[in-house]
Symmetry: C2
Subunit: 184 residues, 2 copies
Amino acid sequence: MRTSTERTKTTLTATEAALLGLLALRGERSGYDLKKLVDSSVGYFWRPAKTQIYAVLPRLVEAGYATREEVSQSDRPDKHVYRVTAAGRQAVTDWLEEPPSESGDRTPFLLRIFLGGLASPDALGRHVRAKREQAEWLKAELEEIDARIGDSGDYHAALTRRYGLAQAEAVIEWADTVARELDA
Amino acid sequence: MRTSTERTKTTLTATEAALLGLLALRGERSGYDLKKLVDSSVGYFWRPAKTQIYAVLPRLVEAGYATREEVSQSDRPDKHVYRVTAAGRQAVTDWLEEPPSESGDRTPFLLRIFLGGLASPDALGRHVRAKREQAEWLKAELEEIDARIGDSGDYHAALTRRYGLAQAEAVIEWADTVARELDA
DNA sequence: TTCGCCATGTAACTAGTTACATGATTCC
DNA sequence: GGAATCATGTAACTAGTTACATGGCGAA
């Protein structure tokens, strides 16, 4: 599906899977709507640029994984509404069966900690505090969402929030003990 | 430093910073040695392909951040030994002052959890178990390293291990409760 | 004799990014 | 009057990836 002539059905990219998956779960959407939907759902762990979304959608149509409908509007710009096809659903399901591509998480933050000895003494502390604040912010946000939607929301989405929460709490604890050490 | 004609000293990439940082911390190395050093140190959170290392090193020399010496060997292939320069050290230090580029961690694993409702019932369980095992493996490895080198090693390296450990433990706990829920 | 280590790279590709462009409508 | 929202894209670039190529040495 890389090009129109290619035959071998390679695997979806994560971005393709995300968009098809959202179309499957939440119904038809325009590129613009998908961007907003991504930002408020999978955006916490997968946030493609909007240009990437607009680039991917026509590829999905070409591959037969989605359909595109032109919708004329009088008060707003016209738009393209996408819908997932049966083949598209199958493609997501196949993608979901695959083990995630390990690809050791790239974390420039940890690189800065590792090389901390080469930096000014307080740079390290600043990074640790910033990370702590960011984790605290994420934790608050996730808890707020959980409180707001209770048990009514999607179970799998809730699982990812709990994952994020656990990670955030681990970061906060780590940052606290490190900060204490640095002060001594 | 992107091209030889460019003047504006842009910031290092994370890979450039990693290599310069390792040269600064651990002394001269060949590309081949750097690859091994990367794998056993920053490789847990930043692991460039070896071709990327070989691509980056000449750029660092061109930018004046490192020097390159040809070393002839009789029993083995000749090699290029790189050393960081004063300008290179400064470049790393500058890089370390910058806040890490947020860039919400891309986690295809969580994408698969989020879309879990579209997969076969046991695919979700498989992913959760695999993640748990991987975290358990990482935890064991990090603890083994800590036990082996005790307090003798680099403090900043130890900080990154503790970070990894905290994350791994959070993952294990999360996976356990999720697994219990899925069984019910 | 075969396998792994040493050692460096080229070529082709990929999955993204940022900056720029356009333009009507609605809300403050 | 100005900003945000709606809506879609192009162009140029970037920071990587995998597959391929080469070849001698030492150990089992």
